[in-house]
Every structure is written in C-alpha cells, then in structure tokens.
C-alpha cells in the first residue's frame, strides 16, 4: 500500500514539473477552467435562463458537446480492438493513450451533463438504492450506468497497467484482459445508449430514425482516432527535444561501441544477471555455456554509445548494473523510447529480426552490460520462460511509430467513408419522397421561413467531412502534414455535425410547429470552454504521468 501511495505521490509531483511550454499550456488551461467555473457559478445563481435554451429548444451546446465527447470516449477505446483482437503490436502502447483520452473525455461528459441539470444539487436522486433509479425504462439511467462504469473500467485498466509498468512487473492477464474486453463492449455500448437517448423519442421525427445509432458510431470512430493521431504526435514531439541533442563529450568522441572497455563474459555474469532476471535460472547449463560463446561484458561510462541507430550489428544486450537510455531519431527529433536498468534488455529487436538498429543506446550511469550474439539470444530463448520474458519486454516500449499513425489513419478513413455514406442515406430518404418528416432537415440545410442560423454551420460541416474523406482516400494523406489537416477537418466537421447538426434541429420546429432558433449566450460558451479546458488539462496531466512510466523513466527502480 505504501508503495502505491509513493507511486501516486511521484506521479503527482511529476505532473507539476515541466518546461516553460508545459507551464504555459497548463496555466492557460487552468485560467480557462477558472473562467468557466465562474460562468457556471453565475448560472447556478441565475438559473438556466442565462443560457440560450428555452422551452422550444430545451437542449443546447451542453448536450451537443456531451454527445460529441461520448463518441470520442468510445472511439478512444477503439484502438484496443486491433491490439487485443487482431494482435497488432504497433498499437500496443497506444492503448494506454486511448484509454487516458477516454478517461478525460468521460470526465468532460459528466461535467457537461452536470452543468445542464436544472437541479444539480439533486444528483443523489440518481444513485440506485439511495435515490430512485428508473432502470431499465429510461435511457438516461442506462447512460448514467454505462458512462460511470466506463470511467471506472478505464481508470482501473490504465491504473493497473501503469502501476505494473512502474513496478516493472508483468501485469497478470486475468486482472486486466477481461476488463479490456469489457471496455471494448462498453465503448460500443456507451455510444449506442447515447444514440438511443435520441432515437427513442417518437415525438421527434428528426431523431426517431434507426440510422441515428450507426451514424453516431461512424462519426465517433472518425473523430476519436483522428484526435488520437493528433495527440500522439504532440506526445511524440513533447517527449523529444527540439534543440539539437547535447551530447556528452565522451559520446562525441566515442565512435564505435567496441571502443568501450570490455571483457569476456563468465558464468558469474550470468548469475549476476539472474539476480535481476530470475528467468535466467531456468536456462540449462548447456544453453548457458553455448550463449557465453562470443559474449562480452562492456564497462560503459556515462555517455558511452552502446548501439547506434541504423547500424547493422545485431548483438543483444542485457544490463547488469547501472542504467542505459535508449532513444530514437525521428525526423530530426530525438526521443527516448526506454530507460533500462539491471536485468532488462536492449538491442534484441535487431538480434531477433535481423533489421538495422532501430535506436541508439547510451549509458546514463557507469554500467556493466552483457553483450551476447544473436545466436546466443536465440539459444536462450529456447527456454520458454526466457522467451516469454524477452518477448514481453520487447513489446513493452513506447514507440509511437509512423506506422501506428497510419493504422489509425486507416480507421479514420474507413469510418469517415461510412459516415458520409450514412449521411447520404439520410438525405435521400428525407428528400426523395418529400413529406412532413423532412422539415427539420430543411431547416438545417436551407433554412425555414427566414430562420437559417444553422445553414452555414451545416454546409461547413458537410464540406469538411467530404473534404476529409477525399483527402484521406488520397495517398497524399499518408504524409503527416496532410494527415493532420485531414484529422482537424474530421474533428471539426463531426463536432459541428453531431452537435449543431443533430441536437438542435431535433427541436426546430417544435412538436407544435413553432420555429424558435437557438443561439448560445456568452456565459454558456464560457462554461463550455471551461469544461473543454478541464478535459484537456486532465488529459495533459494524465499523459504527463503516463509517458515517463511507459518510457521507463518513472519506475520503482528510480525512486530516490
């Protein structure tokens, strides 16, 4: 328990440290949060009259943002599906980012729903057992259950996986795999339930259509991964240095790894390794003897380069004492992928796959490193336990590779095509056979009787969505610059389409045919901005804690 508290304390203190960019970002977000809080305080005193909502349009930007964010939360866990069902290793570490995004998005959802309530002090009426919970009749009660359950699931999964990483312990499958699968099902359910909130209302023909649920999911699975693509690039950039790498003098001088002091490895070294890597004890004596052939122990000083990226050698390394940092150069930026300590390996990727080195390894402290040949590693891995631990460790690294971004791009591409197709379906159904049911659509697309506040918004959304779809289908969007443009178009297009294009037209005209438009007030907008800032703040802080853990910087072994 005290370990866990120490872990939490370290995480908390890490989140308060950063460079000036970090402080600017966090500070600006906090200021926006406080402004939003003040705006909400005004709303609590004055009532919802201070918003632009009315009896005619009784839900506004709060619920619009809520709807969009539920989709984001659901889609963030979409990343989980390729990893755990299709065993796509490229996205493995990104699962955590997806789930952290889901946590932040759900917190924003809960905040938006709370500020929309007329009597937030009566929230306890919703608690089953204490209040009166109208389950399973009311879809809103379903929403309460699934959203809170989803939050708890994701917090648990992320917390467990990160804590295990912190402890440098392999997580126990039974303590997280079932929950991951539950999270996948839950992710689909939160957004379907939110769609059913609208679909179940027979008195609102604009919503009472079976295509609304699939449209929700398609648009969510477009905007969510698009946001993750952008967020991952920010993380990649922020966890690298923008300036040229300041190389220690000794690294500048050191040209080849073999110039580092080395000696032949002995059985003793293997025993030393076994102290930190117990699986070595399972290796038979003959295998050990065989792998000691050609094995050396390097005595590295801080700054010594043990591996160079793109070099063609393929030895595998195990750290006996000290620490080694593993980093990659990507597009002019250098990023740390891992931080390895005693018992941990590096360089095994090239040893196993024969590819050029994917990273550079530099000793951070005076270290002794066991260097074995690729054959030796393969021999070691004949022992099942060694195979398991080495393979697992190989997967446990923070690699936000371009390939993972391209996989996400594929998800966004397909989802956007489906989204646009479903929209086309709706438009055909409503307009080919013109009946009274299309009146809300006509208001949205063309305006009605002088009321046309939403027309420019919706056409912008259509342009952005179709444009993004086309862009994503072109090979041009494989380049990160254009991919980012497409992602921004997706997010904004879907934010407008889902928010203004779905929630508001359901109320215009009213069931009695009255045409009253809706315009959010300044106060309402400030509350929305405040909640978005709060969500981004949560996400930033969660990432600020998670990335060092995933990189191996913030681990038990580095406790002061």
């Amino acid at each position: 328990m005290s370990n866990y508290l120490r872990f939490l304390r370290r995480c908390a203190s890490v989140s308060l440290v950063g460079d000036w960019r970090y402080y600017t970002w966090i500070g600006a977000l906090t200021a926006l949060c406080i402004i939003g809080l003040n705006a909400y305080a005004k709303q609590v005193v004055a009532g919802l009259e201070i918003t632009g909502m009315s009896d005619q349009v009784s839900w506004g930007v709060y619920i619009a943002n809520f709807t969009f964010l539920v989709g984001m939360a659901a889609a963030a866990v979409m990343l989980v599906i390729p990893v755990y069902i299709y065993k796509n290793e490229d996205l493995h570490d990104l699962v955590i980012f997806g789930e952290l995004l889901a946590v932040a998005a759900i917190l924003m959802c809960l905040a938006f729903v709370t500020v929309d309530l007329g009597r937030p002090d009566r929230f306890w009426h919703l608690i089953p057992g204490i209040g009166v919970f109208h389950f399973p009749g009311s879809m809103l009660s379903w929403d309460v259950l699934v959203l809170n359950g989803y939050l708890v699931l994701n917090v648990y999964i992320c917390g467990y996986l990160l804590y295990c990483r912190y402890q440098n312990r392999k997580p126990s499958k039974w303590l997280y795999i079932p929950f991951v699968f539950a999270a996948i099902v839950w992710a689909i359910s939160i957004h379907t339930v939110t769609a059913f909130l609208y679909v179940g209302l027979g008195g609102r023909p604009f919503w009472n259509s079976s295509i609304v649920g699939p449209r929700f999911l398609a648009s969510a699975f477009t905007a969510g991964p698009a946001f993750v693509i952008l967020a991952l690039q920010v993380v990649r950039r922020a966890s690298g240095s923008a300036k040229a790498v300041e190389l220690p003098v000794s690294e500048r001088e050191a040209a080849e790894p073999h110039m580092i002091a080395s000696r032949t490895a002995t059985f003793e070294d293997l025993d030393r390794l076994a102290k930190h890597l117990p699986e070595v004890a399972a290796v038979s004596i003959e295998d050990r003897r065989a792998c000691l052939v050609g094995a050396t122990v390097l005595n590295a000083s801080p700054g010594d380069v043990l591996l160079r990226q793109r070099a063609l050698d393929n030895d595998a390394f195990f750290v006996l004492t000290g620490r080694v940092v593993v980093r990659r150069d990507e597009g002019g930026r250098t990023r740390i992928t891992r931080n390895v300590g005693p018992g941990e390996q590096f360089g095994e990727v090239s040893a196993i796959t024969g590819t050029p080195r994917v990273a550079t390894a530099v000793a951070m402290k005076p270290s002794e490193v066991l260097c074995i040949t690729a054959d030796a590693l393969r021999r070691l891995m004949k022992t099942p336990k060694m195979d398991e631990i080495i393979s697992w460790r190989m997967g446990e690294r923070l690699m936000i590779s371009d390939r993972s971004l391209l996989i996400l791009r594929a998800i966004v591409q397909v989802s956007m095509i489906i989204n646009v197709f479903l929209l086309a379906n709706e438009l055909f159904t409503e307009f080919y056979n013109s009946n009274r049911h299309d009146i809300s659509w006509r208001y949205l697309l063309f305006g009605l009787d002088g009321h046309h506040a939403l027309v420019p918004w919706f056409w912008t959304a259509i342009t952005l969505n179709v444009g993004a779809m086309v862009l994503l289908m072109l090979p041009l969007s494989r380049s990160l610059k254009w991919l980012n443009v497409a992602c921004i178009m997706c997010i904004f297009g879907i934010w407008i389409e889902k928010g203004m294009g779905l929630v508001i037209p359901g109320f215009v005209p009213t069931p009695l045919g009255e045409l009253v438009e809706y315009l959010p007030t300044l106060n309402e907008t400030l509350v929305c901005i405040g909640i978005w800032a709060f969500g981004l703040l949560c996400f930033t802080i969660l990432l600020r804690m998670a990335v060092p853990i995933l990189q191996g910087q913030l681990t038990r072994a580095t406790e002061p």
Partner: protein, 309 residues
C-alpha cells in the same frame, strides 16, 4: 548518486515557486465562485434531503406540507393551504375540446396561469392555442401561435388549444431517469417538484409541447397568488424543475372543474369522469366525431378534440 537524471519532482525552491502560482490559482478559483454568495434560498437541508413522494409516510408528508406553506409565506407574504389531494376512486379523467366552438380568445391560457400560480416572468403557460387554417389540413406546422387580431374568431381559421394530454402511454414518464413524473390512478400525469433534477428529457420526449421548465426563479405577483394549493399541482415551483398541466388537481380531485373549463366563454371545454356513463365526456366520446393529435405515436391521449355534429 552523483548522476541521477531521473526527474522526480522538484527541489524546495521550485516547490515554493510553484506554490505561489498555486495559491494565486486558488485565489482566482475562490473569487470565481464568488457569485454563489447570492445563492440565498436555493435549497434548505430539509428540502435537499426530502424523500421521494411515494416513499413519504403521511406524517412526513404533513411535515413537508407545513414546510412548503412556511416557504411560500416567507416568499409571498401570505400563508397558503397546501394539501396532498389523493386520487378519487373509480375516476379517470378525460378532457374534450369542441373545435367548432373554440374562438381562440385565450382566456383558458390566462385562467390557468392565475389558478396554477405559474411564473409571469419568465412566462410559463401550460396551454398553447394554435390558429389553424381551414384548408383541409391538421398539420400543426401551419399553426400560428402568435395571432393577435382585433377580434377572434377569424373567418377561414379554426383554433386549437393544446395542453398536456395526460396520455395513457406517456413518453415523458418513460424517459424520466428518477421517476419524478408518473401517472396517477385517475389518469393525471404528475410531477414531484422536489424530486425533479431538471434534466429536461421529458420536455424533449413530449410530442405535444406540453411541458415547461423553470429557466429562472418563477415570479408571481403576491396579490395574484392562488392560496388553494396542492402538493402535486399548483404550489409555486422552484427554479430548475419541470412543470405542466395537471388538470387542476386542487380542483378536479375535490370534484370541481378545472379553471380552463370554467372560464371558457363559449363552452368549448369539457371535462369529467369517463368511467361515469352519465358524464358529458362519456356522451361526447360516444356520440361525437372525436380525434386525437398524433395518434400514430401511440401515446393514447386522454384529450379529445370533437366537432359539434
């Protein structure tokens, strides 16, 4: 360790620096929450902890009613009688409205406002009268809500008032997450104003635009306050809760006609017990051509529009 590049947190100096920012932040938060000082009579402990209507014992209900009377007296300066009228046995209310006779004078709208203590500012009116063209359509999109001619009725139009239909299959009851609205045995769909959380899902669900929400604290001129109040009916509501027509529970459950029925100058409004074969509503449903609005939605309203022949 001389070489410790793990970032771990901060030194004391940087902690002090960050704590300055943090305290400034806390000051900003405190000042930001300052408007809450004006919260005043938002809620009391008793109100906050009040149980669900259906779970209140008669003794607890008595306490609640007394508390409400005191609250109203404090706000309006006059002590009302608030009673919890229970439904009568063997009674199911039905409303009928004669579209041949309605002239669109809107007296019903304002009688309801006066009888049921509805907020004047912001304005809440349970009844909405539509001016519909006489061109062979019942399409409510063609209804005019804001007609203001010199004299009604106008040739070429008929008038159709709409209020809560107390549906047999109410969509609003189905969607309420806390069951703050439910249908009573005598057919009236009621709201417990102390239980409603103000999510407005019921307002979105109603196909007849029958429900109203208190976007601000309701304001009623004290001299126009109707002191004959019922718990589920016309006691003054709170900011942030939903309300709607309840067939004047304080009247109908003691055997009287609702205010809108009494005030109608042309006798277009009919109300009574459908389980009584001798009531006028039984006669109407048996002998007149009646229709309900949006029958295709399956709400089964208890509000019938009829014509004279």
């Amino acid at each position: 360790m001389p070489f410790d590049t793990e970032e771990d947190g901060m030194s004391r100096r940087s902690f002090l620096r960050t704590s300055t920012v943090l305290s400034a932040g806390v000051a900003a938060v405190a000042a930001g929450l300052a408007p809450l000082r004006k919260l005043g009579e938002f809620t009391s402990v008793d109100q906050f902890l009040q149980k669900y209507y259906k779970e209140l014992t008669p003794q607890e209900m008595k306490t609640v009613l007394e508390r409400i009377e005191t609250e109203v007296q404090r706000q309006y300066g006059v002590r009302p009688h608030v009673r919890d009228y229970k439904p009568m046995n063997g009674v199911e209310y039905v409303y009928a409205l004669n579209l041949t006779r309605c002239v669109g004078c809107r007296k019903c709208v304002h009688a309801c406002v006066a009888e049921n203590n509805q907020s004047r500012n912001p304005e809440i009116q349970y009844i909405r009268v539509l001016k519909m063209p006489n061109d062979g359509t019942f399409d409510m999109d063609k209804g005019d809500h804001n007609y203001a001619p010199k004299s009604v009725p106008e040739p070429g139009f008929f008038f159709m008032p709409v209020q809560c239909h107390q549906c047999k299959n109410p969509p609003c009851v189905k969607v309420c997450p806390v069951k703050a609205t439910w249908q009573e045995p005598d057919g009236i769909t009621v709201i417990d104003y102390n239980w409603c959380i103000g999510c407005r899902y019921c307002e979105a669900a109603c196909p007849y635009f029958a429900r109203r929400f208190n976007f601000a604290s309701p304001s009623i001129p004290s001299e126009q306050l109707n002191t004959n109040m019922s718990y589920l009916g016309n006691r003054p509501r709170y900011k942030g809760v939903v309300e709607k027509c309840h067939f004047c529970i304080q009247r109908s459950r003691v055997g009287r006609y609702p205010a809108c029925v009494e005030v109608c100058p042309t006798g277009s409004r009919k109300f009574g017990n459908i389980l009584d074969p001798k009531s006028e509503v039984s006669y109407i449903l048996k002998n007149k051509r009646v229709l309900v609005l949006k029958a295709e939605l399956g709400t089964l309203p208890r509000f019938f529009y009829y014509f004279d022949i």
